[in-house]
Amino acid sequence: MTEWVVEVNNLSRQFGQTLALDQVDFQADRGMRAQVALVVAVAHRPDLLILDEPFSGLDALVRKDILNAVVRTISEEGRTVIFSSHLLEEVERLSDHVVMIQQGRITLDASLETLENFSDSSFS
């Protein structure tokens, strides 16, 4: 339990603040809610982290913080992250492998490198 609390405090400091979990207004602040949710998801150090639209509906600063926390999770701890997103910017920044889904069907399943080479050859 103590370990868990230490971990939460470490993670919340990465967001530039110590989250007072009992004082968060979950109704009002969507950004805060997203940060707390990510801290809680990462705190028990899962091997696999699944995030459903982690960047949508957030302001630019919170998005950057969340993005950074995810990059930190990948780069410092070598964890696998699966996330869904409509924001291609974040997809390009974070992904090694991309699956596109349209109306419930997979329309593309490729490495980011393949996609990059594809765009290279069609635009240059």
Binding site: K64, L67, N68, V71, R72, I74, S75, E76, E89, E92, R93, L94, S95, D96, E113, E116, S119, D120, F123
Partner: protein
Amino acid sequence: MNITINIKDGVPIYRQIANQVRYMVASGILLPGEEISPVRSLALSLNVTPNTVVKAYDELEAVGVIFKRRGAGTYISDEQTPLADRERKRIVEARIDGLLAEAHQLDFSATELLSLFTQRQSALNSAKDSNKKARQKHD
């Protein structure tokens, strides 16, 4: 190491990183033997997955711009001269290609473009000369 990612550029992120390192080497901002940012810290500061930085560094290593010391960092290679020349040429060629494409769309012939080129060059030179003269007078 000052690298900026432009996500709307259409150029893959790893290539943006690799290009900017090359430019910094070609222009002498990064010097032979200098250590460059470790993969993890560059990934964190640019907010991109570390694999992207690894790919950029691999590409730079393959063309001899950088080299890795096992477990001891990544450095700018010593022999930069032939590569820097090639790189300089590549950069200018890319600019010329862009210019040619735009000039074509604006309906300039190659001959017109060449004479414009000469005109601009002499305009620039005379501007430089008059600046120099003004400075000499001032001295």
